[in-house]
């Protein structure tokens, strides 16, 4: 009957939060419209023919690997019963705490020619094949990213798998037939969805491929910018990367459309495995856990102990920077997510819906793309402002660009738990408070904040950890000489100092355990989806 005047303000706020996501998109796509012929011929002749096949092979290999490994493990722990099943059910998520680049550091450091494991094997007459190549990088990425698939398939099967399986067996299918013909087709959207998330992470990965000396689109962007000092070339490559991202997003959209409704109900009986099968299941789960988490963690501890003398002012400074950056980003991004949530609550307009979808799309944009895609337009803006007003603002060396890039990439991470918190504040609570004479700020303090607190805490913790782990954005946009733990790891590994990278790495792994712990607690209450735990490697 009439339009509430304040919705205009909320539309504006939502649009402003979404705008930074569009900036790198338009910048990198726009670079195709101003194609520098000389630059493009260089890129298309010397860079893309190398980089593009490697990127696609890696993408395909990792997708295949995570979907097989993740699905197999999920089927095992949800549909079958064997000793230790409950333990493995959550422990198999632990690799999420270890960013892929940390795993890569351990892998390369211990299997490299001079590495401990390699030396030991060589003394016993076993020569390892060369592993610092695309194949090795793919193995590490699979080990780090399989939990994305595992998590989604696990929850899809946990809600309905065992019951449907019972029904299928009641109709005369053998257990194997029931799994293949009923359970797996049922989870196909979940498998695809989890695989696509892992694929996006692969595309965004920078640290792992750098450690393996493999050139992909992300590392090419970094090299173009910081080795060839050509921001234009970097932006052009970001445009190519964006095309691959868009393809993945379109696939994801279709998977979402095909997602089946899940029925909930009491869990059905799991199928008890015969002794031999049970032993194989335990062996498989133990092996995965050992190779993807336990052994690398142990190696990190051993190396750290050996280099405790490295704990100096420089390292502590990096740690302080990491924490500081994480806290600032967490508070800022949680605030943005809350504003976005309120906008959606106060106004159901298309503008707000569209802005929310755009702002939460940033998780799909690789950090390298964001760094260059935000730098170029922001640098142009600063130049214009300086010229117009006679100022001398500097962009690189400020935290603004860095925080902006984090905000684009991690708003989705904060959005999910904040939204879950906001949905607890039913409209009738607002009305009840109003009838009780509690309005405005008092309503926010007395009704909203207490209910929002768990969601806000989760959002802050998740963003904090993601920012701590984040590598390419931090590396490319940090103020000169300003190190974080992730940057230290990159610098040490690029100098071949694998063992000395263990100390900063262990700090990151410990921080990374926080969201895993949160996830395990909420494993079966439906809040935790794969999108909430994003980011195990960047």
């Amino acid at each position: 009957m009439f339009r509430k005047p304040e919705t205009v303000g909320w539309k504006l706020i939502a649009a402003l939060i979404a705008a930074p996501t569009l900036l790198p998109l338009t910048a990198s796509l726009g670079s195709f419209t101003r194609l520098d012929a000389e630059l493009w011929s260089h890129l298309s002749e010397y860079v893309l023919p190398q980089v593009l096949p490697t990127t696609l092979i890696l993408l395909f290999g990792v997708s295949l690997g995570v979907s097989l490994l993740g699905t197999a493990l999920a089927v095992l722990v949800t549909l079958f019963e064997f000793p230790g099943r409950r333990f493995f059910s959550w422990a198999l998520l632990l690799p999420l705490a270890m960013p892929a680049y940390v795993l890569a550091t351990v892998f390369v450091g211990s299997l490299d020619y001079a590495g401990g494991v390699a030396t030991f094997l060589r003394e016993h007459g076993v020569m390892l094949p060369e592993l610092r190549n695309t194949f090795g990088a793919a193995i590490v990425l699979i080990a780090a990213l399989y939990p994305y698939v595992y998590l989604v398939v696990r929850s899809s099967l946990a809600t309905q798998g065992a019951r449907v399986l019972e029904a299928a067996r009641g109709m005369g299918l053998t257990p194997a037939q029931a799994v293949l013909r009923v359970a797996l087709p049922l989870s196909a959207p979940a498998i695809l969805g989890g695989t696509l998330l892992a694929a996006m992470e692969t595309l965004a990965d920078f640290g792992t491929v750098a450690a393996f000396n493999v050139d992909t689109l992300t590392s090419a962007i970094y090299k173009a910018w910081f080795a060839l000092f050509s921001v234009d070339a970097a932006l052009q490559l970001a445009g190519v990367l964006l095309i691959v991202v868009v393809v993945l997003l379109m696939l994801q959209n279709r998977v979402h459309a095909a997602r089946r409704t899940t029925q909930s109900g009491p869990p059905a009986m799991r199928l008890r495995l015969a002794p031999i099968g049970a032993a194989l299941a335990v062996l498989a789960c133990t092996l995965v856990l050992l190779l993807c988490f336990a052994a690398p963690a142990l190696q990190l501890v051993i190396w750290s102990a050996r280099h405790l003398a490295d704990v100096n002012a420089q390292l502590l400074g990096s740690a302080t920077n990491s924490v500081l950056l994480g806290v600032i980003a967490a508070l800022l991004i949680a605030f943005l997510a809350v504003m976005l949530g309120y906008a959606a609550r106060r106004s159901s307009s298309r503008t707000v819906q569209w802005a929310t979808r755009t702002a939460t799309l940033g998780y799909a944009l690789p950090g390298a793309l964001l760094a260059v895609g935000l730098f170029v337009p922001m640098a142009a803006l600063v130049r214009h402002v300086n010229e117009a007003l006679g100022w001398s603002l500097l962009l690189q060396g400020g935290l603004v660009l860095m925080l902006l890039a984090y905000a684009v990439r991690f708003t989705a991470v904060a959005h999910a738990p904040v939204q879950a918190g906001l949905s607890r504040i039913k409209p009738s609570l607002d009305e009840a408070a109003r009838l009780a004479g509690i309005t405005g700020v008092a309503q926010i303090v007395r009704v909203h904040l207490p209910l929002l607190r768990p969601g806000l805490a989760a959002a802050c913790a998740l963003v904090f950890v993601d920012v701590m782990k984040e590598m390419p954005i931090t590396l490319m946009t940090r103020p000169f000489g300003w190190d974080t733990l992730a940057v230290r790891i990159f610098e040490l590994t690029s100098e071949g100092e694998w063992q000395r990278a263990a100390l900063p790495a262990i700090a990151i792994v410990i921080a990374g355990l926080v969201p895993v712990w949160w996830l395990v607690r909420h494993l079966d209450d439906g809040i935790a989806g794969a999108r909430d735990i994003r980011g195990s490697s960047t």
Binding site: M1, F2, R424, K426, S428, L429, E431, A432, A433, R434, L435, A436, G437, I438, T439, V447, P450, L451
Partner: protein
């Protein structure tokens, strides 16, 4: 009042008056506009035309709304809207934040006693049963002694048995507090159990605003006759002398019925009496055992159906032919 969203009108010329201290009810199928009316009265929705008055003071008219918190209204929401982070006592005290502490505590204790939750003051809403949560919501709404309390489908989340018991308890509590109340429901049993005056609504129209007795025995139109209680319409002819002729006999009529011509007569199950000596016979087509009575569906020789309530020691099988006669106290007839 008239109200709606955009071009869609939800309420057409709704008009009603609730005397102080009485319990009113808007009864109707879902989507009839009853909740919109309630929210307009609470001040949450604007109205397109008309006025809402409280104690002869204008609360809402077409261009002006007294905000909800200034109306002196309490509300029990359909989803109860209890604050999940506050315990029972704090929930009840929620609307009393401007009162001195001692006064507030006394009022909370008094209300918890009244709704039978004195022992649960420190419990949190999720630790209570559905019925207990219901009582907390009622106590919270009553706490500031509102002039009017609004109840929006208050029992919709409860099971049937609990509803019956609770609706009687709630009526007793409302009478004890001497509050004026307006209830919205789609269940006529709740309406009958709680309200002094009931308005039957459909598609935004108020069909009748009357006592339960009159809604049942003197329905204003076919919709009310059909919606409230059970019964069947049977064709007949209104004669010039005032009597109505129909296949089950001739009925004497009072003044309120339509002019001479073809009519439809409403026959409630208690209007059709089982009588073995009657010449009129009908075939049992269905029966429902209700303890003290059977509700029989009977097919007349014309093929039309009537319902009959018969003491349950008259046990007739389906297909039996039994004698019936009419025993109509108030003849209800509608012109065709």
């Amino acid at each position: 009042m008239r109200a709606g969203y955009g071009a869609h009108t939800v309420l057409h010329a709704l008009s009603l008056r609730l005397a102080p201290g009485t319990v009113g009810c808007l009864l109707g199928p879902s989507g009839c506009g009853k909740t919109t009316a309630l929210r307009a009265i609470a001040g949450f929705e604007p109205i397109g035309a008309g006025r809402i008055l409280g104690d002869d003071m204008v609360l809402t008219d077409a261009g002006h709304i007294v905000p909800p918190e200034k109306r002196g209204i309490g509300m029990v929401f359909q989803d109860l809207a209890l604050m999940p982070h506050l315990d029972v006592a704090s929930n009840v005290a929620f609307g009393l934040h401007r009162q001195p502490r001692a006064e507030r505590d006394a009022r909370v204790a008094e209300l918890l006693e009244l709704v039978g939750l004195a022992g649960s003051a420190k419990a949190y809403p999720h630790q209570l049963s559905g019925g207990q949560q219901q009582r907390v919501a009622l106590a919270r709404a009553l706490a500031p002694k509102p002039r009017l309390i609004l109840l929006d489908e208050p029992f919709s989340s409860l099971d049937v048995e609990l509803r019956e018991r609770l609706s009687q308890d709630v009526r007793a509590i409302l009478l004890h507090e001497k509050t004026t109340a307006l209830l919205v429901t789609h269940s006529q049993f709740e309406a009958f159990a709680m309200a002094d005056v009931i308005g039957v609504m459909r598609s935004g129209h108020l069909h009748q605003w009357d006592t339960a007795y009159n809604l049942y025995h003197r329905p204003a139109d076919r919709f009310v006759a059909d919606f409230v209680g059970e019964g069947r319409l049977l064709p007949g002819t209104r004669r010039a002398d005032g009597a109505v002729e129909m296949e089950l006999g001739v009925l004497r009529a009072h003044a309120e019925i339509p002019p001479p011509g073809p009519v439809e007569v409403l026959l409630r199950p208690d209007d059709v009496v089982h009588d073995d000596s009657s010449a009129v016979q009908a075939t049992v087509t269905a029966r429902a055992f209700r303890g003290a009575e059977f509700l029989y569906s009977l097919r007349l020789d014309s093929g039309r159906e009537v319902l009959s309530l018969v003491p349950s020691h008259h046990d007739h099988a389906i297909g039996c032919r039994i004698g019936i006669r009419l025993d109509v106290e108030h003849l209800i007839a509608f012109a065709i």
